[in-house]
């Protein structure tokens, strides 16, 4: 949730005040909390609680393949998500994307990151029935291709021919972006 005071930055400071059994809660960003004197005047320096997000942003900083990070070597136009306005720099700092559209906006940068963090950049597994049409067809296609190979190696040519026809049909449907029947 955004900061209660500025409504600009995510609220990361939670303050609970208890006076005569009356509890008051505030949710502020670090900047506002500091301005309102809730944090000490000295710059915040604590040993970071080492989290996955921090690890993530440090991976991004040091990625030699994508070349982004603080180095002076590769100045590039600032990437920004047109839907939510999050910049790639903000993602690097916080470790969180701003909305689902960020995945498209930062696609070129996220691919290498995902391969490093997750060991893959392609989803396999469950898909929503509604948007999974093409994905389901692709899976079926992979299955049919494996079957075709097996049929050929066993010299079952009649079956191989049937499979080949089904594969062509599937390829056409995928090309067309999946059809109405493909959803189920």
């Amino acid at each position: 949730m955004l900061c209660q005071h500025c409504s600009q930055r995510p609220a990361t400071v939670h303050i609970v005040k208890q006076v005569n059994n009356q509890r008051e809660e505030y949710h502020l960003c670090e900047t506002c909390a500091r301005e309102q004197g809730h944090l000490g005047l000295e710059p915040a320096f604590t040993l970071p609680n080492f989290s996955l997000q921090q690890l993530l942003s440090s991976l991004l900083e040091s990625d030699p393949f994508t070349g982004f990070g603080g180095g002076p070597a590769a100045p590039r136009a600032e990437l920004r998500c047109s839907f939510c306005g999050l910049t790639f720099r903000q993602f690097k700092e916080g470790g969180f994307l701003g909305c689902s559209h960020c995945y498209e906006a930062f696609a070129s940068e996220l691919g290498p990151l995902l391969r490093r963090v997750q060991g893959s950049d392609k989803h396999v597994g469950k898909a929503p029935r509604r948007s999974g049409g093409v994905l389901r067809l692709r899976k079926e296609l992979a299955q049919l291709r494996a079957e075709l190979q097996e049929a050929v190696s066993r010299e079952e040519y009649e079956r191989a021919a049937q499979l080949r026809d089904r594969i062509r049909d599937l390829e056409r449907r995928i090309q067309a972006g999946g059809d109405g029947n493909a959803v189920e």
Binding site: L97, G119, S120, K122, H123, G125, R130
Partner: protein, 353 residues
Amino acid sequence: MPWNRLVSQPQTRWTAATGPDSDVVLSSRVRLARNLEDFPFPHRMNERQARDLIRQVEAGIREVNLMGVCPPVELYRLDDTPYLDRQVLVEKHLISRELAQDARGRAVAISEDEAVSIMVNEEDHLRIQVLAPGLDLYSAWELGSKVDDALEAKLPYAFHKTRGYLTACPTNVGTGLRASVMVHLPALVMTNQAGRLFNTLGQFGLAIRGYFGEGTEPIGNIYQISNQITLGRSEEEILDHLQSVVQQVIGHERRAREHLARQMKAQLEDRVGRAYGILTGARILSSEEAMRLLSDVRLGVEMGILKGVEARTLNELMIACRPAFLQKLAGKELSPFERDLRRAALIRERLVA
């Protein structure tokens, strides 16, 4: 279920102490991260957007109830709930510490039997969680997936053809699946084998955490083992992998227990008996001491050394003697010392009865 009942009884689905391998495994959990298209992720939402989203989720919850995939689910808006009540739900493992912290524009939907809880506007718009007693990942996943299907029928999920279910943090993207198993490993700790085992788990792509999840310390020899990778493997592969590794951990723990029973029978019985003696005789008990002794007593029960105490009683006590629950029970805020007094009284009463 009325909110007040939800936050004042220590029994919950996972405390039943039934289910496979419950001599080592307390509970299994499956969590699915889901987001809706066309809303920013929760950390970038304002309160109005957060409330709009909750209204949409209500339609999804109605669908879950209509399809009858689990006992009736009720949605609770957290905005005006007392901080202490939310902490009780954390202590019951029904919501995360993160959700309890900032209640603005947040909600949780919980099924009547407390097996399903759906956090709204936590790190992701939806976190569908299923808890089951014992090692029971597959039935938890099956139920979670059905709830997911029902919600999806009403809610436009953010799904990408190659990246899968989109999440606020890229460490959850793909399946959005985090499966975890809560294990009690006192014999591995006593025989100094736990550290080595945990290092090995990391190499298998699994994380080991404390009693309250990420960033928490283990309490009473209880650890949470979970998958780290969510992308590039199917849900079944993720569960199979976790299941098979956890089964090996269970095997190691059982062998360590047998070893202790053979080689150090007297010391083991002494340790269990002393723990029981202190828990039933003490008048002041800190949280840390109580959890440590409850672990010893649990080991005694699990190994058949101690008769007449039920594992479910121990599970409920682990919830009932936490700070928020004690204060909820007392109906007022308590100082740490007052809590230690009440904790001792509560444990004495439950164990002697």
